[in-house]
Amino acid sequence: MRRRLTALAAVLCGGLALLQLAAAQGNSQRPTTTAAAAPSASSPAGATTATGAQSALVARGHALFVSSCASCHGMSAQGIRGRAPSLHGVGAMAADFYLQTGRMPLPSPRVQPLRTKPAFPPRQIDALVAYVGSFGGPPIPVVHPSRGSLADGQRLFGLGAIVPSLNRATPRQVAQAIRIGPYVMPRFGAGELSEGQVDSLARYVQSIQHPDNRGGWGLGRIGPIPEGMVAWLLAAASLLLIARLIGERMPDQRDERAERTGAAHE
């Protein structure tokens, strides 16, 4: 029983590994949020210049901020030394990027911000973005992937770095990430990458999200690691089974390997 369980566990691990592969490549793309930006302030003035609806949104954002963000970023987003930076001037762009991609809120200040599911529903994100945006800073960028060039995009992409998973990045998030430079990704200002080049990169990222996997099952387009796993767990495993089938021949030959000599070395 023990050994059967071991074998079963081994098979399960292999199967799970294959499933993980399938899941990784089958990450459904998030529905592309429309380029119509959230009602963020395009002028960097404070909350007072907005319309009534806008100021209500900012107020709601402030309330959410106090309960969810102020413990690290301070009651009016001024930052707390040793915990979190000030958000004055980071703009709606940064707020929208970090909240939409789940990089913020962090469970603790020492944790690295990596992409996860967003912690807030879209309406609340809009409110928080409006609030942070009211302190000024870059607005949410407008991106036109259709105006970009695919060849340029691939070329520019290679000059920088590859991020963990672009399967869920919308064109807007691509542009934001380029301008912000989250974690190990470098940041590229307007002088380094023009609007047109950002468009091209967004278009390129879009194209690799809708893969033209001409070779078949894409394995998440991760690289040689899943390829090696498939070679072992699929090819080698099935060939072993086939060898087992071909190798065992006459029924009375099975299980006749004897412990005749009984000379098990102790």
Partner: protein, 341 residues
């Protein structure tokens, strides 16, 4: 607890369920014992050879069917190749044909042809008598030669010479080595340009961003050419004394080629804010994650790199563009014997 037990005047007698369970146990025990005993039974057979003829009746018909299917699959591969060479369909058609061929061969091998076990003697291989003959014959070939040791030694020396003569042409494979490995296109005054050849302005380098620059006029594929340019807060710089003028406005440049194994350094760990991340900005190589400190002249913080990243002294010219202030601080790329480090 057996509720199925029948109560009979205060005395419990096993019910049906109890009997069934005991029967099951007996059967299991019998099987277990059987598994263990079965191994011993056929040890007494001295001659394991046997032969069983007679094809299974279904085998021949199945094979005929398989051959037809194989022809079909192969034919569809041919048709697809000409009409619509879609990779997946081609793979399916040919793969199916081959799988059917495999099935046919195995079925033929196991159920069609006679099944035989035969015994063959293993050749002895070792034959001491023959060995002696060979040795004698060999030694006889040297009869009459007196200065054996001397001749052997001299032949060895001659052989070494010939081997060296045969091997030395490999040197022609490569041009002058030291020159190749040490030379870079950087010297004082050389402008830094981007991938398109446009000079890079100091203002274009923002804090937290990361730029790839090349030596103006040099071949971009030259390992010595690409550099990484970043801007940091000048007050946080900890450059060695002789490099104090190398970072105008806090803009620093380092070779983009990792000193571990020559990969292009394309990751930049720039902290979100000085108070939240414990370590300063660092260039990280994606291959084996050698991490180079940007603030202290490219020193290795983590990872297998054995030498710091060579730094390029910078200055800003009158037009606000970046220029090199001299050659790189060290050899580019991975270490080797003559790298003089």
């Amino acid at each position: 607890m057996s509720s199925s037990d029948e109560r009979d005047g205060g005395e419990r007698r096993p019910g049906f369920a109890r009997r069934a369970w005991q029967a099951l146990v007996v059967i299991v025990l019998w099987r277990v014992a059987g598994l263990r005993r079965g191994r011993e039974r056929s040890q007494e057979l001295e001659d394991p050879s046997r032969r069983r003829t007679g094809a299974a009746p279904w085998a021949e018909r199945l094979l005929l069917g398989l051959f037809g299917l194989i022809a079909l699959a192969a034919g569809s591969f041919v048709a697809l190749f000409v009409l619509d060479p879609n990779t997946q369909l081609l793979g399916l058609a040919l793969g199916a044909a081959l799988a059917l061929v495999a099935a046919a061969l195995v079925i033929a091998g196991r159920w069609l042809v006679p099944q035989e076990t035969e015994v063959e003697d293993r050749p002895r291989l070792a034959d001491e008598h023959e060995v002696e003959q060979v040795v004698q014959q060999g030694r006889a070939g040297l009869d009459g030669i007196t200065r054996r040791r001397l001749l052997a030694g001299a032949a060895g020396a001659a052989g070494l010479g010939v081997t060296a003569a045969v091997a030395i042409p490999v040197v022609a494979l490569g041009p002058g080595i030291e020159d190749q490995l040490q030379r870079t296109p950087w010297h004082a005054g050389r402008a830094l340009v981007d991938e398109r050849g446009k000079p890079i302005l100091a203002d274009a380098v923002t804090e937290g961003s990361f730029l790839t620059a090349f030596a103006q006029g040099a071949d971009r594929e030259n390992l010595g050419s690409p550099v990484v340019v970043v801007r940091v807060d000048p007050t946080t710089l900890r450059l060695p004394g002789e490099r104090s003028g190398w970072a105008p406005q806090g803009i620093v440049a380092y070779s983009k080629i990792c000193t571990h194994a020559a990969c292009a350094i394309s990751l930049y760990r720039s902290p979100l804010s000085p108070t939240t991340q414990s370590r300063g900005p660092a260039l990280v190589c994606p291959c084996h994650y050698s991490t180079f400190d940007v603030l202290d002249g490219g020193g290795v913080e983590f990872g297998p790199a054995g030498r710091p990243l060579p730094q390029l002294p910078l200055r800003i010219d009158a037009a606000g563009a970046l220029r090199a202030g001299g050659p790189l601080s060290g050899p580019v790329g991975p270490s080797w014997f003559e790298d003089k480090s």
